[in-house]
């Protein structure tokens, strides 16, 4: 369309593809996918995952790119152009992206914190710090593990519950400031600067992943983890949660519904072949997930084997000391045999061991499924501290996390800024640089709330509720709008105009038939799950016990959750209502004017 001839553009289509890859390949590929694989039967999980990719992921990705490239506007403008009553869909996307911007950069702040603390001769999470009178270690650290202590006490300085607020953790605040400054540096000149940055943020994580793959599979015990992950447990396929988790993972991993893809595509040339690019990016995203989970599981295998062998060593020492046997009688291999032997020959003495005798189980170590941000920081740093030259691996790992996080962050921020800069009343009064700076400053100031002592609990709340339910609703409305309100025929004509060939039947069937049905099913499942789940709870860190305890949210926090969910979803009906009223006023105004001219 001639109107936007002066709109900024990517320098070449490669930049667009790399921007999409950088956005889609994020922390979820490294953390959440391996967890789901582990939970839902290892290699067998790939079946529902790939099926959902084909049925849900690729068609919706294609649709969002098509809309952005056609309308050449951010999400608000694009949806308003499709149907003025449903302009609220774009607004809801912007609100959801705003929530994501607020809390996602806190993860990058943590990555910076860990990265900067890796430049020490002994990694600070490798050992417990000594207490004040030098007699032993700090109590909280003794009860938990050094890595947990470092995360909960030194990184977050976490309070006991969401109600105890405390002040801001200065170190965290500084790291968050740095994270936002870097985001601003990457987007300050719009797609011109972003386009150059994505060359690095999209490719360097793969380099680190390859290095880690080589390091990971050569670690002692890594094969246990990889074997565990890939052993398919086919009975899990009968569990409906497996399929639902597969669909959700594809959905959120590709970043559908946030408006970032629309924003990225709006800077494309009109005739860019986005069909091929949609398929390429989706495939790259899924294969990165699988690749990253091999790396993750080899590291888990190493960690589990290390813990298992440490457990055996402790049991061996306990037996040697209690029964005063010579050192070389019990070795790590025959500890189990000796336990049975000693139980038989010295039953009373054996009984006196009582609770001190631990049971060491490799399967149990591997079974400790790990998911989510905090746990993943703890588990990975625990594995890294046991590697030789751990400082190097730590630095590499956290740089990779930072690049993945920053790449996704770029997409999130652009999803907010593009529609705002398209609004005429903003673009008239300030330049893009000022707008970008203001958005970054605003998000930084609000994000400081996540650096308080109870900040992690608010973070978890945003992570669990801020973007999950609203996204499903947004994408469902998107698909229904494009296929039934705008019309699949009109959409087909637009695509033909851009690409030069018609939509083939795969896209038509998926977009008009399969995807809406799957989305409705997902949506219903979420609602049912939420209602059945009872009062929402969270994991509060108890410093006396040295572990997390499940706590219920207080009433005002539950109200806030409701507000989070409602604020983005309500945009859609409210905007529709507003547009309807405006049209009615305009129509009645016109009628009045015509009446007056006639009378005059």
């Amino acid at each position: 369309m001639g109107k936007d001839a002066a709109r900024a553009e990517w320098d070449n289509p490669m930049q667009f593809v790399l921007a999409c890859v950088s956005y889609a390949v994020g922390l979820g590929n490294v953390w959440r996918f391996p967890y789901l694989c582990q939970m839902h039967g290892g290699g067998g999980f790939l079946i529902p995952y790939l099926l959902m990719l084909v049925l849900l992921g690729v068609p919706l990705f294609y649709m969002e790119l098509a809309i952005g490239q056609k309308m050449r506007l951010g999400s608000i403008g694009a949806w308003r152009a499709i149907n003025p009553y449903l302009g609220g869909v774009g607004l809801a996307s912007v609100v959801t992206s705003m929530y994501l911007c607020l809390y996602y950069n806190v993860i990058n702040a943590w990555s910076f914190w860990y990265l900067f603390h890796s430049f020490q001769s002994v990694l600070p999470w490798a050992e417990c710090p000594v207490n004040s009178n030098l007699t032993g270690h700090v109590e909280e650290c003794e009860r938990a593990t050094p890595t947990q202590y470092f995360f909960y006490r030194e990184t977050l300085d976490i309070s006991g519950s969401i109600e105890e607020n405390g002040g801001i953790h200065m170190g965290q605040a500084l790291c968050l400031l740095l994270a936002w400054m870097i985001v601003y540096l990457f987007i300050v000149k719009g797609v011109k600067s972003t386009g150059k940055v994505v060359y690095f943020t999209a490719t360097f994580p793969y380099l680190v992943l390859i290095i880690y793959l080589i390091r990971g599979v050569t670690l002692h015990g890594a094969i246990n983890g990889v074997k565990y992950m890939f052993t398919p447990k086919m009975e899990q396929l009968a569990n409906p949660t497996t399929w639902i988790n597969a669909a959700t993972q594809i959905f959120f991993s590709l970043g559908l519904g946030f408006g970032s893809l629309i924003a990225f595509a709006s800077y494309n040339q009109y005739n860019n072949n986005f069909e091929k690019q949609a398929i390429v990016v989706s495939m790259v995203n899924s294969s990165t997930s699988i690749f990253a989970s091999i790396v993750t599981f080899s590291i888990y295998g190493f960690k589990a084997t290390f813990n298992y062998e440490s457990c055996l060593e402790r049991v061996r020492l306990l037996l040697l000391n209690t029964f005063d046997l010579a050192e070389d009688t019990i070795s790590l291999e025959n500890v189990i045999h000796w336990i049975a032997e000693l139980n038989r020959t010295h039953p009373e003495q054996f009984a006196s061991l009582g609770g001190r005798l631990e049971t060491c189980d490799l399967e149990a170590e591997l079974d400790t499924a790990v998911e989510g941000t905090g746990l993943a920081f703890i588990v990975y740093s625990e594995a890294i501290k046991n590697m030789p030259v751990s400082q190097l691996w730590s630095v590499l790992y956290f740089i990779m996390l930072l690049l993945l996080g920053m790449g996704s962050m770029l997409g999130n921020v652009i999803a907010v800024i593009t529609p705002l800069s398209d609004l005429k009343f903003i673009s008239r009064y300030m330049s893009t640089k000022t707008l970008n700076g203001l958005v970054c400053l605003f998000c930084l100031l609000l994000g400081l709330g996540f650096t308080t002592h109870s900040g992690n609990y608010w973070f978890t709340m945003f992570n669990d509720y801020g973007a999950t339910f609203s996204l499903l609703f947004i994408v469902l409305i998107e698909v229904i709008t494009v296929c039934y309100i705008y019309g699949i025929k009109r959409f087909e004509k637009d695509v033909e105009d851009m690409l030069g060939h018609r939509l083939n039947c795969y896209w038509k069937i998926m977009l008009a038939g399969v995807s809406p049905i799957l989305l409705i099913a997902l949506f219903i499942f979420y609602i049912v799950n939420y209602i059945q789940g009872g009062t929402p709870t969270y994991q509060a860190w108890n410093k006396e016990l040295g572990k997390s305890v499940v706590t219920e949210y207080p009433p005002y926090a539950q109200a806030f959750i409701g507000l989070l969910l409602a604020s983005s979803v309500c945009c859609i009906p409210l905007t529709a209502l507003y547009t309807y009223c405006k049209k009615r006023n305009l129509a009645s105004g016109k009628r009045e004017r015509t009446v007056s001219t006639v009378s005059a």
């Binding site: 001839a5 499709i82 300050v188 600067s193 046997l325």
Partner: protein, 256 residues
């Protein structure tokens, strides 16, 4: 009346052997011989039984003794040495050294360290007896302080560490944590944030300079107001009028 001087520490039985006056001379000489024999026997027993006495001083769970546990193979692996009498001798000598260092005297010797109850684990009990008084044990607290003071030297004598040469009950004092004035992470942080700040300033300044150069260039070309208006596109902001939708396909846009 011949009376033997009964040594002051003699058992009561000797003290009761004073012959009553008026006893026949044969009884007196018998008593004397008996006394002499008893004393010799007792002295002999005493000398022979000194180690036995000392052994009774050293017992498992003795109130003034410590248990030592040594794990050579854990510490040294392939280069582990055999624990034998010579190593035990070295241990006793090292302990004597520790006591000497603590009390700042030169009276302690290998004999003052008694060891008992050695097991295959290589664990044993030891007590320290005072050089002046062989029946007196050095109290537990003093032994602990002496060991703590020379712990490093004792460990090194055996190529072991605090964990592999354990004195059960004596906890090693942990090293003082090194607290630098500026935490190292702040230094790295400072470097990175400085670089980012410089980058932002550089980008902003360069784009400002570019804009100024473009403006100057346009004014020097002598373009007047009309031309600029006719161009309609300046700095990316479209100065056209509203796009007239009257000439486009109706079915591309939703009817309002």
């Amino acid at each position: 009346m011949p009376s033997l001087t009964v040594p002051p520490g003699a058992p009561p039985i000797l003290q009761s052997l004073t012959v009553p006056p008026g006893a026949p001379p044969i009884l007196q000489s018998l008593a004397v011989t008996l006394e002499r024999m008893l004393v010799r026997i007792l002295v002999l027993l005493y000398l022979a039984g000194a180690p036995a006495l000392a052994q009774t001083l050293c017992q498992p769970n003795a109130s003034n003794g410590y248990r030592v546990r040594i794990s050579i193979k854990t510490a040294l692996g392939n280069q582990a040495y055999e624990w034998n009498e010579n190593e035990m001798f070295l241990f006793r000598a090292t302990m004597a050294f520790a006591m000497r260092r603590y009390y700042k005297t030169e009276t302690y010797n290998v004999d003052n360290i008694i060891v008992c109850n050695q097991t295959r684990r290589v664990s044993f009990w030891f007590v320290v007896i005072s050089p002046e008084n062989p029946t007196m044990l050095i109290p537990k607290a003093d032994v602990e302080k002496a060991v703590s003071m020379s712990r490093h030297r004792i460990n090194n004598a055996f190529l072991l560490t605090d964990r592999t040469l354990e004195f059960l009950g004596i906890y090693p004092t942990l090293a003082e944590p090194v607290n630098p004035d500026t935490p190292p992470w702040l230094i790295v942080f400072g470097v990175v944030i400085g670089a980012v700040f410089a980058g932002i300033i550089a980008l902003l300044v360069s784009s400002l300079l570019q804009k100024r150069r473009k403006e100057k260039g346009m004014m020097e070309d002598g373009q007047d107001e009309e031309d600029r208006q006719m161009k309609g596109v300046e700095n990316g902001i479209n100065l056209d009028g509203i796009y007239n939708r009257g000439f486009t396909d109706d079915d591309r846009f939703t009817k309002l």
